[in-house]
C-alpha cells in the first residue's frame, strides 16, 4: 500500500493505493476526468460545449456519467443543487481558476434559470445554460477510482471515498481547527465551504456557490457543511444542499434517507450535527 498526493482538477488529490502501478493509474484517471469536465481548460470537452452555440450534444462516457450524477443531484435536492448554474458562476467573476479571479466593480445583472436535460449520453440545454461540474466531478472521480480498485481511499479537495474500515477524517473548520473527527470507515464524505473561495463583487463579498433560485452567490449562516453518505458524490450533493438550505440544512439532512450524517460549522464558529452522527474522541 502506498500513499500519494498530487494536484488535479484545481485541488489537492490524495489517495491510498494498493501499489505504484495503481497510483499511476489513478493519476491518469484524474487527468482523463479533468480533460472531460474542467471549466478551466480551454480544450476540455465541457469548455467546448459551454462555448458552443449548439443546444444538443453527444457526450463522452465520462462526461455523460458525471452529467447524469448532476441530474441525480437535481432530483435528490428538488433542484437546489444544479450543475446548470455555470452562467451565474461566470457572470459573478469566477470564470478562471480561482487564483486568477479578480474583484468585480459591480454586481452582474440577474441571469436566467438553468434549463438542461440528459437522456443516456445526449445533453440538451438552453443557450444561456452553462454547466459547472465542480465538486460533483471530484466526488464522482473518487468513487470510480475506489470502485475500480485504483485506491482504497481517494480524496479530492475533501470529497472522500473509502473502502478501508480504519479511515478517520478530521473535519477542518475555516479557521484551520479540527471541528470534529469522523470515523468514516467504508463510505463517502464531503465538505462544502463558502469560506475559502471568496471575492468582492460591487459592494458584496461573494462565494463560488451559486443558488439556482436566485442565480446569485448563496447567502447562508453556514460556513461549511460536511455530509456522510454511501458514496463521495452523494456526500458532495448533500453538503452543497445543506449549505444552500442554511438554517434548515440539518433538519433537511435528517429527513433525507440517503444522508447518514451531517455536520455544520456555523458562522460564529459553533459546530452542530444531526442526531446519530458519530464522532471520534
Amino acid at each position: 500500500m502506498i500513499h500519494i498526493s498530487f494536484r488535479a482538477m484545481g485541488t489537492d488529490v490524495e489517495a491510498w493505493c494498493p501499489g505504484v502501478e495503481a497510483g499511476q493509474q489513478l493519476r491518469g484517471w484524474f487527468e482523463q476526468v479533468e480533460q472531460a469536465c474542467s471549466r478551466f481548460r480551454y480544450d476540455s470537452e465541457l469548455s467546448q460545449i459551454n462555448r458552443s452555440q449548439d443546444q444538443s450534444f453527444a457526450l463522452s462516457e465520462i462526461l455523460a456519467e458525471v452529467t447524469q450524477a448532476g441530474d441525480r443531484a437535481r432530483d435528490l435536492t428538488e433542484g437546489l443543487v444544479d450543475i446548470g448554474v455555470g452562467a451565474g458562476v461566470v457572470d459573478w467573476g469566477y470564470d478562471r481558476t480561482f487564483e486568477l479571479v479578480r474583484p468585480l466593480d459591480r454586481r452582474p445583472p440577474r441571469n436566467v434559470a438553468p434549463e438542461w436535460s440528459i437522456q443516456a449520453r445526449t445533453l440538451t440545454r438552453s443557450l444561456r445554460t452553462l454547466l459547472d461540474l465542480g465538486g460533483i466531478a471530484k466526488g464522482w472521480a473518487c468513487d470510480r477510482a475506489v470502485e475500480q480498485g485504483m485506491a482504497t481511499v481517494a480524496s479530492a479537495g475533501g470529497d472522500i471515498r473509502s473502502t478501508d474500515s480504519r479511515t478517520t477524517v478530521p473535519i477542518v473548520d475555516p479557521w484551520g481547527e479540527i471541528a470534529a473527527r469522523v470515523p468514516l470507515g467504508v463510505g463517502g464524505l464531503a465538505t462544502s465551504s463558502i469560506a475559502r473561495r471568496r471575492w468582492k463583487a460591487g459592494d458584496r463579498e461573494v462565494s463560488h456557490l451559486i443558488d439556482p433560485r436566485t442565480m446569485e452567490p448563496v447567502r447562508t449562516p453556514v460556513r461549511s457543511a460536511t455530509v456522510g453518505s454511501r458514496a463521495a458524490v452523494d456526500a458532495e450533493i448533500g453538503a452543497k444542499a445543506v449549505l444552500l438550505h442554511g438554517d434548515d440544512g440539518l433538519a433537511w439532512a435528517t429527513d433525507a434517507d440517503w444522508i447518514q450524517s451531517a455536520i455544520v460549522v456555523w458562522h460564529d464558529g459553533s459546530v452542530y450535527a444531526t442526531p446519530g452522527t458519530v464522532v471520534a474522541a
Binding site: G158, A179, P275
Partner: protein, 103 residues
C-alpha cells in the same frame, strides 16, 4: 431620649449613602471589566456581509447535536485560506486520515 442628635443622624445617613454608592460603583466596574477584556474584536463588515442572521440551526425532528458552542458575539474574526496539513508520508498508511475542509 435618643443618644444621637439630629445633626449626627444626618451625618450617618449621608455617609451610609456615600458608602452604598461607592460599593455599587465598585461592583459594577468589577462586572464590566472582564467583559471588556475578553470581548473579541468586531467582525469586519466585508467578511460577514454575506452571512444571514441566525442564532443556530433549526432543530431537526429528532433534536440537534452541539459539538462546539460559541455564543453570539464570539464571532471568529478571520478565516484561513489554506486547508489543514494532510498526511504525506508512508508512516500514515496504518490508518488513512484524509482531511476534509471543503474547496
Amino acid at each position: 431620649m435618643s443618644r444621637f442628635d439630629a445633626a449626627r443622624w444626618d451625618r450617618i445617613v449621608i455617609w451610609s449613602a456615600a458608602a452604598l454608592a461607592w460599593g455599587t460603583a465598585v461592583i459594577a466596574t468589577s462586572l464590566q471589566t472582564p467583559n471588556a477584556e475578553t470581548a473579541p474584536p468586531p467582525a469586519t463588515v466585508g467578511e460577514y456581509s454575506e452571512l444571514a442572521p441566525g442564532t443556530m440551526p433549526r432543530p431537526t425532528s429528532k433534536g440537534l447535536v452541539i459539538l462546539r458552542f460559541t455564543p453570539d458575539g464570539d464571532e471568529r474574526s478571520s478565516a484561513v485560506a489554506a486547508s489543514a496539513p494532510t498526511p504525506s508520508t508512508p508512516t500514515a498508511l496504518a490508518a488513512p486520515e484524509p482531511a476534509s475542509s471543503g474547496s
